[in-house]
Point group: C2
């Protein structure tokens, strides 16, 4: 933790210092807060007053104990105040999700539909509609949205979707008519947000892992020492375009033999002769051989690609996420066998969040911003 800052941006920095200390502690007294931040008790009191008034911190009476005389007032993150809106625009679904400052999901809506043959403006209007419903639901619960983050299956620059091959979109600027909020709208690649969602809310992971988002496309979020690895142009983690068969079929990226062309959801559905992911899961659950064989084939291919990832990046663990988590009972043994066959032995984990990881990560990214920069939230009210 950094110490108190002694210059012009002092109040903003100290608000963040105090709020981070409260978030880390869970519940803490003003007196301990002064000790842990190095600020004076009177500074802490002033800052806490602002944080409480702004709906970021709440006070409660601590239970009496034998060690202390009268009970002290405990401070904790206010779970009835600021909240973050996560949105996801994916190839075959849209999602909206609200989390409060404590990370609890307060609203969730997922709409299944195929976005591949629709104009971007139409799809974005639908995302905006989902977002407005989420905002209204949050307000009904007394929560105040501090900002929104949209997960998209492609490469992003600012608020433009530069390239989303599985949607066949290029250079689509994103504007959503949302209510004004402190941090506005940010956009990020869904595989990156899914890795962060897993790190913050999901399966306990080590500090170095690769999270695989299996959907129509296959992406990866690479976490190194607890932080996203983005590469030189923020395009790292394109696991779906690892070359599995140099002479394989053409891919939407312009290449050939890519993993996602051979083991993405469309490839599995075609191989299994299934019409939807629900049908596929149901047929796997009843032990239908063709469906199980299709999933196992995909698992071996994913495992071979993850052996390459392990040899290149040396993570502690790989996490199967997205639809791969939903199919894990049948997919994971094939992935493990292929990893062993290629002499790679990272820990193999299954996401707890599955297809929700990206939208959870998106909502969590907004909440994290409130905790990192409360002054902007308080100033924008």
């Amino acid at each position: 933790m950094t110490g108190p800052v002694q210059h012009a941006g002092m109040r903003a920095s100290n608000l963040a210092l105090v709020l981070r200390a409260i978030a880390d502690a869970g519940a803490i007294t003003r007196s301990r807060l002064a000790t842990s931040t190095g600020l004076t008790k009177s500074s802490v009191s002033g800052l806490v007053t602002d944080l409480v008034a702004g709906g970021l911190v709440e006070e409660s009476e601590a239970p009496p104990s034998r060690d202390r005389g009268r009970p002290g007032t405990m401070l904790a993150l206010d779970r009835q105040g600021a909240a973050g809106l996560g949105l996801e625009l994916n190839v075959d679904y849209l999602a909206a999700l609200v989390v409060d400052l404590g990370g609890t999901v307060r609203y969730r809506h997922v709409a299944t539909l195929d976005n591949r043959h629709r104009p971007p403006a139409e799809v974005l209007a639908e995302v905006a509609s989902l977002a407005r419903a989420a905002v209204a639901a949050a307000r009904e619960q007394g929560l105040e949205l501090s900002g929104a983050c949209l997960a998209v299956p492609g490469v992003v620059d600012g608020t433009t979707i530069v390239r989303a091959p599985n949607l066949d979109w290029a250079d689509v600027p994103v504007e959503l008519a949302l209510p004004a909020s402190a941090y506005g709208l940010s956009i990020e690649n869904e595989a990156n947000l899914a890795a962060l969602g897993e790190l913050w809310f999901g399966t306990p992971t080590p500090r170095d892992f690769v999270h695989v988002s299996g959907e129509i496309g296959i992406g990866a979020g690479i976490v190194v020492d607890g932080e996203l690895f983005r590469g030189a142009h923020a395009r790292a983690g394109e696991l779906g375009h690892v070359v599995l068969d140099p002479d394989g079929p053409p891919c939407s990226c312009g290449g050939r033999g890519c993993l996602e062309r051979l083991a993405g959801l469309d490839a599995i559905l075609a191989d299994a002769g299934a019409g939807s992911r629900a049908e596929l899961e149901q047929r796997c659950a009843t032990g239908e051989e063709k469906a199980l064989a299709a999933v196992a084939t995909a698992g071996r291919r994913v495992g071979a690609a993850l052996a390459s990832v392990t040899n290149l990046l040396d993570p502690d663990a790989v996490v199967l996420g997205g639809v791969f988590a939903a199919l894990a009972a049948w997919l994971e043994p094939a992935v493990a066998a292929a990893l062993a066959d290629h002499a790679a032995r990272p820990d193999l984990l299954v996401s707890r969040l599955g297809p929700d990881a990206a939208v959870r990560g998106a909502a969590g990214a907004v909440v994290r911003r409130v905790i990192d920069d409360p002054a902007t939230f308080l100033g924008g009210r």
Copy 2:
């Protein structure tokens, strides 16, 4: 640059601060050194006196100029003082190389021989013999060896070679009877050192690149923002074990279909029906079709693997090194074609140092240590 340090380790830190400033500037006066480090002129004078006496810095008269009155005394790294010894133990050669503080190569010896069927102790004795010859040659030139770094084709832990599949070595502790030196002996993976060698002494590279060491094995050094990316267990960069053909032939790593099994030097020689790399290069140079076809096949395979690397890591450039640099005239077009075929377009560069990159990087790592920590060098004299 960090400022002067005001505590017990002050002298050591300030020696490093001053020496780094001299190295960065090339040549600088005491007065400018005080300005750039934030130290007082008298502190700078005392520190410089120690650095000059220790053979790390030399003084020279600056040429007179119209702007100034009398010429000032310029300070620069002493190219006749401390030096670094780089050693390399590879599958089919051994090497020793000495660089001075300015990075100039002062001694180089490469011995070609096949180390695969020899006991580790015998090979290490030969490395020690090469090292002693290098130390003697450095002394004859008035240089003082500050330490040694050994490049090995495998995974390292401390001074133990944990695993070197292409030598069929495992858990080999390394001790070389070398003259005492300030920093002693360190050991590092050769692909990592080759990337550093290229970064410090070779082809001008961007800050994010992947350097490919093509030898009997194929390794990669991953440089992210000018620093080595090592992974969670210091085993990142195993490009040779990227899976190119999931059903391919078994590899020494225990896996199958690995890139180095299909495109390493042994695979190219077998495919070309050549007995040595010299014969292969000579036959390529005369346009012999079988040799050219073997190199082109390897190039396409390396290109497909580098497309995967680019999609995962998003570097600015990939650099072909080792024997791939020597074969670049015939290999590089096939690598470029495969990258394009797989829709990956990093800058494709060829190493200037070729097979010397790792041993240059090893010697450079020692010299870098002198500049980062001159107090240990001065204290050990």
